[in-house]
């Protein structure tokens, strides 16, 4: 597996950009989680259009980075998970937004 954090050279202007967030699918997930309090797998799948496999992989990466919290539970016999952005994830997303904005603003027109 490729280590995404090593894809960009250290002295590159984009090296400050958080590669865990930067992947389009994960960015989409974090953007949704940033604007709501919590949601479940079904809602997230419907909103992002990702397959179950992809969704699970990306959520796993975000969870490992400590950016999201997945509270697994059951409603009756059906599994029902509550996915939330952690305070660390919220901070990381804010930093990502401001870093990306800085990098893009530095570009000539």
């Amino acid at each position: 597996m490729i280590d995404e954090s090593r894809e960009i050279k250290e002295n590159h202007p984009l090296s400050d950009i958080d590669q865990v967030i930067h992947a389009p699918a994960r960015l989409m997930i974090l953007v949704l989680l940033y604007v709501v309090e919590s949601l479940d797998y079904v809602f997230l799948k419907n909103q992002t259009g990702l397959s179950w496999g992809n969704l699970s992989t990306h959520l796993g990466k975000l969870e490992n980075a400590g950016y999201i919290d997945i509270e697994k539970g059951y409603q009756g016999k059906k599994p029902q998970s509550k996915i939330k952005l952690t305070p660390q994830g919220r901070e990381a997303f804010k930093n990502y937004k401001s870093n990306l904005q800085t990098v893009l603003d530095d570009l000539p027109d």
Partner: protein, 210 residues
């Protein structure tokens, strides 16, 4: 700045989608059925009981909608909890609804005491104004544009009814016709939205969730 605006819009879109199951439309339509049917029952049951018998009907609809949302909609669409902004807005809406209901109650009591002295058009105009203001407030607070349209549609019903009554001598101030058509339109729209949602969002199997 533009990023902030688009995130706000995204939150709004997600919130508005939570109304796209058609159930709120069906509920509104079912409430309106009372205004169409109660005048027809009035000669047999009296003004009070012809309206009161709709309370259990509304209760059944409310409980039915709650169960449908829980057992049919949520497994297909998923569950989302909104943040502080929505919760604060919801609290404000509850307060506004409370004040609005008290005003309507005061208006109702006032018209009870001077019912005979008022000319024919005063009641439908007042009724329309109350509906229009109520639905507009709810539409604004919930950021749910369809409620503005419903407000206009429903507020037209008593006015057109009065017109039918004065011009064509339609029975019961035209309420059974105008409210009947309005409620039917809203219920049909709600049913259409609900069926479309069922078609577009198949049930998620337990294996997929695990």
């Amino acid at each position: 700045m533009s990023a902030q605006i688009s995130l706000k819009d995204l939150e709004k879109n997600v919130f508005q989608k939570s109304f796209q199951d058609g159930l709120i439309d069906i509920q509104i339509g079912c409430v309106l059925v009372m205004f169409a049917v109660a005048p027809l029952l009035s000669p047999y049951l009296g003004d009070f009981w012809s309206s009161m018998i709709f309370l259990p009907f509304w209760g059944v609809i409310y409980l039915g909608v709650r169960e449908i949302r829980k057992k049919i909609i949520q497994p297909r669409v998923g569950i989302v909890e909104f943040g502080k902004y929505r919760k604060t807005r919801q609290k404000k809406l509850n307060l506004v609804i409370l004040v609005f209901n008290l005003l309507v109650l005061a208006l109702g009591v006032a018209s009870f005491f001077n019912f005979a002295d008022l000319p024919g058009w005063v009641h439908p105009i007042r009724f329309s104004a109350v509906i229009l203001v109520g639905f507009s407030l709810a539409g604004y607070m919930l950021e749910f544009p369809r409620l503005y349209f419903y407000g206009i549609l429903i507020s037209l019903a008593p006015l057109i009814g009065e017109f039918l009554y004065t011009t064509f001598h339609a029975s019961h101030h035209g309420f059974p016709i105008t409210f009947g058509i309005t409620s039917l339109l809203i219920i049909l729209f709600g049913l259409g939205t609900f069926l479309r949602l069922l078609k577009e969002h198949p049930v998620v199997s337990q294996e997929e969730l695990e």
